[in-house]
């Protein structure tokens, strides 16, 4: 019998009950939120369970929601059950002051660099990661550039005195 979203939801609710929240299906992908300290347990269950078999980590990334007080940073996992050809999305939220999330490197070797990237850009601290250092940015960088408090430069700003590029300055 083909694995359906209903069966996945049923199995997960059976195992974790009310702890998994925000169930949704945006554009056909089953999405839910797990408590930050449970991320590994849920993934391990999804991995081990004989009917679910989510054994492929498609993507791991972060996002910053400054409006969600107390859980500003989000880590988003896209898992794929290749045999059943079904995907799901799991999110965890963590406070920006103490952004600790367990690493998935023990389950998926590929999570290594994806977590390093998420650390590099959002500052999520993956507890237990073997080598959590910056990957794309320079090592000396002392902030996490993808957070929303670092907006891209406003193209209409006039405080820069730069005649060559047409921002402010005086035309003679």
């Amino acid at each position: 019998m083909a694995l359906t979203k209903e069966i996945i939801k049923e199995r997960l609710t059976e195992k974790f009950g009310e702890q998994l929240t925000e169930w949704a299906e945006p554009y056909g992908m089953l999405t839910f939120t797990a408590p930050a300290e449970m991320n590994l347990k849920v993934m391990q269950f999804l991995y081990d369970d004989e009917t679910l078999r989510f054994r492929f980590l498609t993507d791991l990334t972060g996002a910053h929601f400054p409006d969600r007080k107390g859980e500003e940073l989000s880590v988003i996992y896209h898992l794929h059950s290749l045999e059943n050809n079904i995907r799901l999305r799991m999110k965890v939220y963590t406070p920006i002051e103490k952004p600790d999330v367990f690493t998935a490197t023990q389950l998926f070797a590929g999570a290594n660099w994806m977590e390093r990237e998420t650390y590099d850009f959002f500052g999520v601290n993956f507890v237990g990661h073997p080598n959590l250092i910056r990957i794309l940015n320079v090592d000396e960088m002392d902030y996490f550039p993808m957070r929303k408090e670092y907006p891209m430069e406003d193209p209409t700003r006039i405080d820069k005195d730069d005649e060559m590029f047409g921002r402010g300055g005086t035309v003679v």
């Binding site: 554009y27 498609t58 910053h64 896209h78 070797a109 660099w113 907006p151």
Partner: protein
Amino acid sequence: MSEHHIKLSEESLQKQTTTLNLGPTHPATHGVFQNILEIDGERVLEATPTIGYIHRAFEKIAERRPYYQITPLTDRLNYCSSPINNMGWHMTIEKLLGLKLPKRVEYLRVIIMELARIADHLVCNSVIAVDTGALTGFTYVFQYREMIYEIFEEICGSRLTTNIGRVGGFERNFTQVAFQKLKKFLDKFPKALREFENLMNRNRIFMDRCIGAGPISAERALSYSFTGPNLRAAGVDYDVRVAQPYSSYEDFDFKIPVGTKGDVYDRYMVRNDEMWQSDSIIRQALEKIEAIEREFPEQKDVFYAKEADRYHLPPKEDVYTKMEALIYHFKMVMGEIDAPPGEVYHAVEGGNGEVGYYLISDGGRTPYRLHFRRPCFIYYQAYPEMITGGLLSDAVIALSSLNVIAGELDA
């Protein structure tokens, strides 16, 4: 300050092994990435990759750009097959907007994507040959890559970073010349590919160099989240075009070539067979388009979905003569088109594997968050594991057979 990777001299005096910097700019790396290798004679003991030399913060830039201005960013991910990235991005927006495209447009897209795949695989395979010492094949097949680029040029005006297509379809219809060029390519390409095969596939020297070099098992490849030809070379038949068909790929009849050992030779052969499959898909698509045009002659002029009017830049002659077209043109160019809020993940089978777009829209004119799933970035981390214990020359061909593209690696 972090530790510098290069060991100091007192230490190196005691050392029995050699530290070698392969890259960041080295003819054998085909891109800017560095590998610090610890070698004992010719044997690689340890490899530490450093990446990020051409990181351009696309995900951050995308947060300030209207949707149609993000397409040129996707060009610069895998620049050997930019049209696939472009199309993947358009499809992501179309998914967000809930647009359905006419069949003719989807088939035209399939043609473009498969041409791009051939171009991508031609580069990769001929470069493997170059790294094993056979330069002839490379100079020979590049003519056909040039023919593909001429087709792109005819359709969208540019060659490498194409910015091809728009949300809802294409910016303009394919011209007769484009179809002529396509037919000319289809006439000549199989013969050239056959000759290239004769030159390489059963070449004793080539086989001896490639078989067993840089292998990875299916189990490890899956654990490393490999996708695309590199995963298929290890024996897993996962292809997004079949698993989650997009752009009407379900209408086509094609095979997924798989390897067994996941070594350089298997990757080469998988890419080689995929070019034949792409060639066949293009022919099927042309036939389907001709069938549509025979039955519904008015379909000849359809190159975008009518429902996409609000998101599709109108043709220039309409902008000058029609009021609505002028309004849409103005609103689009000023970036005043809002997309609905939502959360989308869309994946396409790129030249190197699953290219995914994870988009969070808060209803504004720019993405709230956009993440590119870049297959190169994900599988390149397996590189040290693949080359450790092998020869240095195997490490070089393993790198070219993985087809690591610096643009996609660093985003």
